[in-house]
Symmetry: C2
Subunit: 318 residues, 2 copies
Amino acid sequence: MTKSNPTAPMFERIALIGIGLIGSSISHAARRAGVVGSIVGSARTPATLETAMRLGLIDQGFITAAEAAEDADLVILCTPVGLCGPIAKEISRHLKPGAILTDVGSVKAAIVRDVAPHVPDGVHFVPGHPIAGTEQSGPEAGFAELFDGRWCILTPEPHTDGAAVEKLKAFWEALGSKVEIMAPEHHDLVLAITSHVPHLIAYNIVNTAANLERVTDSEVIKFSAGGFRDFTRIAASDPVMWRDIFLNNKEAVLDMLGRFTEDLTALQRAIRFGEGETLHRLFTEARAVRRGIIEAGQDTPAPDFGRGAAATSPTDVK
Amino acid sequence: MTKSNPTAPMFERIALIGIGLIGSSISHAARRAGVVGSIVGSARTPATLETAMRLGLIDQGFITAAEAAEDADLVILCTPVGLCGPIAKEISRHLKPGAILTDVGSVKAAIVRDVAPHVPDGVHFVPGHPIAGTEQSGPEAGFAELFDGRWCILTPEPHTDGAAVEKLKAFWEALGSKVEIMAPEHHDLVLAITSHVPHLIAYNIVNTAANLERVTDSEVIKFSAGGFRDFTRIAASDPVMWRDIFLNNKEAVLDMLGRFTEDLTALQRAIRFGEGETLHRLFTEARAVRRGIIEAGQDTPAPDFGRGAAATSPTDVK
């Protein structure tokens, strides 16, 4: 298959460095779209590599990222954020001239800081972040629909080759995503409030509940259907991935956390002094944001009552 | 149909005072189980009453709670917590001797405080709370499966008639629930951490996000799939219901909120000082609680990625 062939794939060979939920979903979605020739990959453990081969996620697997990156037209770093710098350094001399190097990390300024210095001339580095996921991890957690209708943010630097940015944009669109370009620092601020702080408070309330003296863990679990359950789902996400996110988006997270605490303190005061009107107003305002998310197609109105939701909900029965 | 009839229903006539998500679900589940003769109900608005009649939720509808309670063997208060006291006072003289009076409120000590004084001799008051729900409201939101496998907590006082408690327990079990008996004060503490505080912080982060200067509302909505989305679902619950819960479980909520803030502050400090091991440990512990909830059947392991989840998830495809 040659580039002149009208059915030529966007990329002859892509390399997935790390094959977890996102890496495996990229493979499923890319094959579904038929936009890649071959997919190779590397994983830290032979077990993951074996699973990826068995599931057909990759055509060829390597233990070292350097080997996987060799000859690839598109190299996607799909590891926890903290590993991107070291891996970029490792693969640097193996990257093919003209290749595009990108990532899927949930922080972007730190990725530019850690990866950019290792990108050789002639290789186009375009940081990316598909805003999609589930609470599950590993090569078996991926599926082709993960990116459908979700946003993928690219944060190229001003001097980045425009054609490379356009090509990566087209790739993500082929995978089902909508693509937005923004500055790394703004991405980190937006994600701090839409993803990082929400995960932090989910992890936090789960641990608060698990460490109470007067309420047993079994009570917390038995009676979790009142709302707590949903937080535990968010708090089931990969601990290493999240540790790295918080270590690498410290300023924005602390900034947003400060706002959250300030607002929570005001809410706490309203409860203490029985200010019903204030509570009602704040709860009503929150509802409007929910409507916006459903209208934007980022969630369904199907009620969730905790069993894989919609399946038995009236919304679906109708 | 007479009591001697072996197929006699548990209750000849039940009255639903308030027909929202819970009231309508009780009707669906009770009819599914065939445990009631007739179901009557009252609602504050003619529109709700009309909808309830049209959906066949009630055989007869009344504008006043007093009329609905008349001759009922089981009267269930399904209104926001703040209305239970006034309604108990209104229906007091109309309650049939031997009838059971219960409620579905998410706070129990305040219900005992507000309702008990109006319960006439010969009427058995057994406060109750089915721990089940969705973020939706109103008579059209109910469905028969809502209580299946969920817990319903009853908080009778020591002097309450044992037979009445057993009968109400059997009723909830017929509706699909598992039943637990506990003291009102303990219920309120358990629910403060498993439901009330989770809802409060969900409402809070949604409003924090909606009031930022450097991140637009449209950005918050577009990029909500990173976790924020799930909080907006919880924050879509009925504002009046939740206002009343916080006004009536103040002490326990402030107590649990204090613990939450204390833990969040420690987590914030760990981020500020880059304590990766602490973060990793705390995130890993939270995962264990999630496993407990799935093992306890209070949620499914189906990954949720925001479209009524399971439907298109690999878990279901397999």
